[in-house]
Subunit: 272 residues, 2 copies
């Protein structure tokens, strides 16, 4: 069994420019890549077996267009089908920018297309094909997935967030690793309470108290913003006992520190 | 059962510039897109149910780099693993150019990543996941696949040509369609004999006679050039009774004509 799997979630609003559609924050992406590279160097020296898989949202690339065509609802009107290939295209586009920046800093990143390996029915996973990703991890590559549009047996197609694909991986890979850690990088120091202070821990029990204060991350986030992230994390904690930590990807060094297991400011979502 | 499936193979040397690495022939790609669009308009008027799937090679994008790292052989030296993500990247890059040009002319093209849905063992298909592509065809989309690097259980990874992926689809979809036609678009009017004249028909029986005159399409084609194409086509003809026609994609109008079932100059590869 492998030592550790780190699942890295990069928020769409962290890696794209909210104020300009179809604009990536390439400097942020490249810096995060360098922090991963730098952490991997330390990990290699320690000779612990750590595997990393990365997923990202599509931010201002996917959400504006997916909202326009209401792709999440599947085939609902005459624009749904013509809209689908366009939303699919922009989802790949932001992934190309992320992958290319990671390759540039020397990460062994290989991109997998969720549309190609996941099929849903009523937005729930019906079938998936994970052998290639498992093989990629075994060989030390860093699989990179993204928020995508995928085919659905009931409604034609739907949106499948980067979080969902990563959680599907966590669920299916959990018996192959002693430990799985989920790290979510956003634009804030974790989840804020009403006063703007970081909530350090959220459990299923304490969630009711916080739910109302957690809004969507921004209006065009078709996958539901911060609330979606917390909900996905709670499911991982309660069903599979896998903790998530939500931290800021804007603070330099944060990612490297957390990859090396150091404590940094953020919100941990845990089973108890 | 659906009427007809057309499998369109676009040669890597047709869509990329041999003399300049990493340069696509975008004008050729866009024109082919327009011819497909134009043919589909006629087909729609005739109300026959025709589905199209497209695959292309990576030409001067993939082959130079794949040859450098000998990716076809899998993990053979210390450069194999660092090289893999780079070859994967350029395979996607040429696919992006093809897909974007097709979207521009109004084709409902959606791109699938062979690395994500095919796993081989000793270069033979071990597992594959075709539900999403089938669903895409059902909804009238045009799946676009490409020559790719994919994971292999025995040798780590290998190259899987666009032809191979399309033939895998033909094999698995043949019971869903009354008729399957494979059209290969290259730079020549089919396969030439020693005098440079088009061989109109190749069968398993007549192949021995022609084999020696068919060379690789150009030196850096790591998937074997014209001989590979003919071999793949012969397998489809002899095992599944599916004919292929090899025609020139440089002759304007050729693609539209052949899509509409008209006879044009080229080489038919058939069972007899």
């Amino acid at each position: 069994m492998e030592e550790q799997l780190i699942i890295l979630k990069l928020g769409g609003s962290l890696i794209t420019d909210k104020s300009k559609a179809f604009t990536a924050r390439e400097k942020v992406i490249a810096r995060l890549g360098r922090e991963i590279k730098s952490a991997l160097r330390v990990i290699a020296e320690e000779k612990t077996s750590t595997k990393i898989v990365i997923g990202h949202g599509s931010g201002s690339f996917g959400h504006t267009m997916a909202a326009k065509y209401r792709t999440q609802e599947g085939i609902i009107n005459s624009k749904s089908i013509p809209g689908f290939p366009l939303v699919s295209d922009v989802a790949i586009e932001i992934n190309r920018i992320v992958t290319k920046n990671f390759l540039k800093v020397g990460l062994r990143a290989v991109s997998f297309s969720p549309m190609s390996f996941i099929l849903t029915s009523g937005q729930k996973v019906k079938n998936c094909f994970l052998f290639p990703i498992i093989q990629a991890l075994n060989l030390g590559f860093i699989p990179v997935i993204y928020g995508d549009v995928i085919f659905d047996q009931k409604q034609g197609f739907c949106i499948f967030s980067g979080e969902k694909t990563l959680n599907l991986l966590a669920k299916n890979l959990r018996n192959k690793f002693k430990k799985i850690r989920i790290i979510y990088l956003g634009e804030t120091d974790g989840v804020y309470d009403k006063k703007g202070k970081t909530i350090t821990k959220i459990t299923l029990k304490s969630f009711n108290k916080f739910e109302k204060m957690i809004g969507g991350s921004h209006s065009t986030d078709v996958t539901g913003g911060m609330l979606h992230k917390v909900n996905e994390s709670l499911e991982m904690a309660s069903r599979y006992n896998i903790d998530s930590i939500i931290i800021s990807g804007l603070v330099h060094g944060n990612l490297k520190e957390v990859l090396l297991g150091k404590l940094i400011s953020g919100t941990t979502i845990t089973n108890g």
